[in-house]
């Protein structure tokens, strides 16, 4: 491409890019900065303080947040683990076995929920639970999270798996390994970066989910996002900014980790 036609040289594009980035990140930056505000006001800056972070753990709402955090983390851990196991089995079956057509179809079916509006999924899940007569509560949240975490765990795993030639398993079986041994000793270690990446992604997606959780949770059972929402409805206080900033930091760490792990090459 000649320098003349390079899109980077159109000043309009550059400006547009900056505007987009600004709109995207300005609120996050503001929330992060004001979470360290000494003032109880959410708009007037009165100097640096960790007061609201302390408030999250010891303030009047700390009991509510603690219960919600326990729910959130235990659900995220169980849902991500189970979703990762299911996604790993699915990837193994789909990428290794089957003819091409079913392979494309299965990939489409598994990743479709990523493109469906979440509200539709939420309503559908709620209708499903009502139909089978589940009482809403911790278990319904967990089951819903396992289900919607699967595609997130699946994508990095199957991407990894496609990069692994099947001659490795054939070599293992040629060297007297059964199918199961070939999977455990050769395929699984080679897939591990994809599996860890999928787990981290599923974990954070579960931890951050609001819409589906809000639909399927029972009264009195809260996760962090629903607890925050509930708290905000009673008025915006700086402790919400502190807890949001902590969640944001955790998300950034997990997503970055997931990306880094998926790019690691354990074949070297």
């Amino acid at each position: 491409m000649s320098a003349k036609t390079d899109v980077k040289n159109y000043t309009g594009f550059r400006t547009l890019t900056f505007v987009c980035l600004f709109i995207l990140y300005a609120p996050l930056v503001v929330v992060t900065i004001y979470s360290f505000n000494a003032s109880p006001s959410i708009t007037v800056w009165e100097g640096f303080s960790l007061r609201w972070y302390g408030d999250v753990f010891t303030g009047p709402e700390s009991g509510k947040f603690k219960a919600a955090a326990i729910n959130s983390f235990s659900i995220a851990l169980i849902a991500a683990t189970l979703a990762t196991i299911i996604a790993t089995s699915a990837a193994t079956a789909i990428v290794r076995g089957g003819i091409f057509k079913t392979r494309t179809l299965s990939l489409g079916l598994i990743s479709l929920p990523l493109m469906v509006p979440e509200i539709v999924l939420a309503v559908a899940t709620l209708i499903f639970f009502n139909a089978v007569g589940f009482t809403r509560g911790y278990m319904t949240i967990l089951v819903a999270h396992i289900a919607f975490c699967i595609p997130f765990a699946y994508l990095p795993i199957q991407a990894r798996m496609q990069g692994i030639e099947d001659t490795y398993e054939q070599a293992a079986m040629d060297l007297y390994a059964t199918k199961a041994q070939a999977f455990r000793r050769v395929l699984l270690p080679l897939m591990m970066p994809g599996i860890i990446s999928g787990f981290l992604l599923a974990f954070i997606v579960s931890l951050d989910d609001f819409i589906i959780t809000n639909f399927v949770k029972g009264a009195g059972v809260e996760t962090l996002p629903t607890a925050i929402f509930g708290s905000v409805k009673q008025g915006l206080k700086p402790n919400i900014m502190a807890i949001s900033t902590m969640l944001l930091a955790l998300s950034i760490v997990m997503v970055t980790l997931s990306y880094v792990v998926s790019k690691t090459d354990n074949t070297k």
Partner: protein, 363 residues
């Protein structure tokens, strides 16, 4: 049956189809115990398919495969006492060299310590002891190739399958590995089934060669057989250089056929069953079994004109046009130059044939 003629792998009427496409047409083949056996043929002729059927990675559509008398075509790969050196080596990238080599032994139930000891011995055999703790990606192509060999040999398979193991190496390394492989085969006494598309490699290394083309066996024999008495046009053309001449058979007498070239010249050669007077056939004459002279030396000497001399290291290759629009390639060894004549381009030359050099071939 004596020890020497025991059959290691017996392929009986094996057919392989992929849908409508037949990759192997009814192959029958007996590979002897302790021999260096080569499957030779151009790319796509079905060599890998046959090897994978023996290893257990492809079903046999029809027919049977026996390994030392035991029928194996329905056994899964891990139950067949054969090991493979894969074309791309397929070394486990997450394991060290030593772990790679001990993998097969551990899977066969050896203790970790025993497996490691034996793996160490195998690495000694292929001279890679100092690389035991490296990962495969930290080795050169030639070293990876030797690890693949050590890994496949470690569990002492009854038969070792090698799928074009040397094709990725450069010429010098390939020559060295040819000798090493041959040496290791002798030393271990394991039956090797070696796949290559390189006829020179096949001739150098093999005890016997099966020449394949388009899923069919063309000829089975030792390297000399294949080279000197090719059974058909394909084999004559594929193995080494040869002069292929279109001729018609004029008459047959006392086991000799008189053949007429398009230029009217006559040559005699051994007759072949089923070829009668009037048949259009081919003669194959190896260039090194022809020699040039400036005067006729026999009744069959062919007069022609030298077109070109090509220097090819140990030999000189001379192209001679003869009447009738045909030409001969004549090879003269450089060390023979004192005895045999090299003639300048444009001069008249006579092409002479050693007795028995011309071989009659049907399509």
């Amino acid at each position: 049956m004596t020890e020497n003629t025991q059959i290691a792998v017996d392929v009986r009427d094996a057919i392989k189809r992929y849908g409508d496409f037949t990759a192997l047409h009814r192959i029958s083949l007996g590979i002897r115990d302790n021999e260096f056996f080569t499957l030779l043929g151009p790319s796509g002729c079905g060599k890998t398919t046959l090897l994978r059927m023996i290893a257990g990675f492809e079903d046999v559509t029809e027919g049977a495969i026996f390994l030392y008398g035991e029928e194996i075509e329905d056994l899964p790969p891990h139950q067949r006492p054969v090991n493979t050196v894969f074309q791309n080596y397929a070394l486990f990238p997450h394991m060290s060299v030593l772990e790679n080599v001990s993998f097969g032994l551990e899977m066969r139930g050896a203790s970790k310590a025993d497996a490691r000891t034996r793996a160490g011995e195998m690495l000694e055999l292929v001279q890679l002891t100092q690389f035991a703790s490296r990962k495969p990606s930290q080795l050169s192509g030639g070293q990876q190739q030797r690890v693949a060999l050590a890994r496949a040999l470690a569990p002492s398979p009854k038969v070792l399958l090698l799928d074009e193991p040397l094709s990725a190496l450069d010429l010098k390394l390939r020559k060295a590995m040819q000798i090493e492989l041959k040496h290791i085969q002798r030393e271990t006494g394991i039956t090797f089934i070696f796949v290559t598309h390189d006829q020179e490699e096949a001739l150098t290394m093999s005890d016997r060669i099966a020449v394949m083309s388009a899923g069919e066996m063309q000829q089975l024999g030792d390297p000399r057989d294949i080279y000197e008495t090719p059974r058909n046009m394909f084999v004559a053309d594929f193995i080494g250089d040869t002069n292929l001449l279109d001729v018609s058979v004029e008459g047959i007498a006392a086991g000799r056929a008189t053949c007429k070239l398009s230029g009217g010249h006559r040559l005699t050669c051994d007759a072949v069953d089923g070829v009668n007077a009037g048949a259009k056939v081919h003669l194959s004459v190896r260039p090194e079994r022809l020699f040039l002279s400036d005067q006729p030396t026999a009744a069959e000497s062919l007069q022609g004109t030298v077109v070109e001399n090509i220097f090819i290291g140990t030999d000189i290759s001379t192209i001679v046009d003869v009447p009738g629009g045909q030409h001969f390639t004549v090879r003269t060894s450089n060390s023979d130059r004192g005895n045999k004549r090299i003639l300048d381009p444009g001069t008249t030359a006579y092409v002479n044939m050693e007795p028995g050099a011309a071989r009659l071939l049907v399509d």
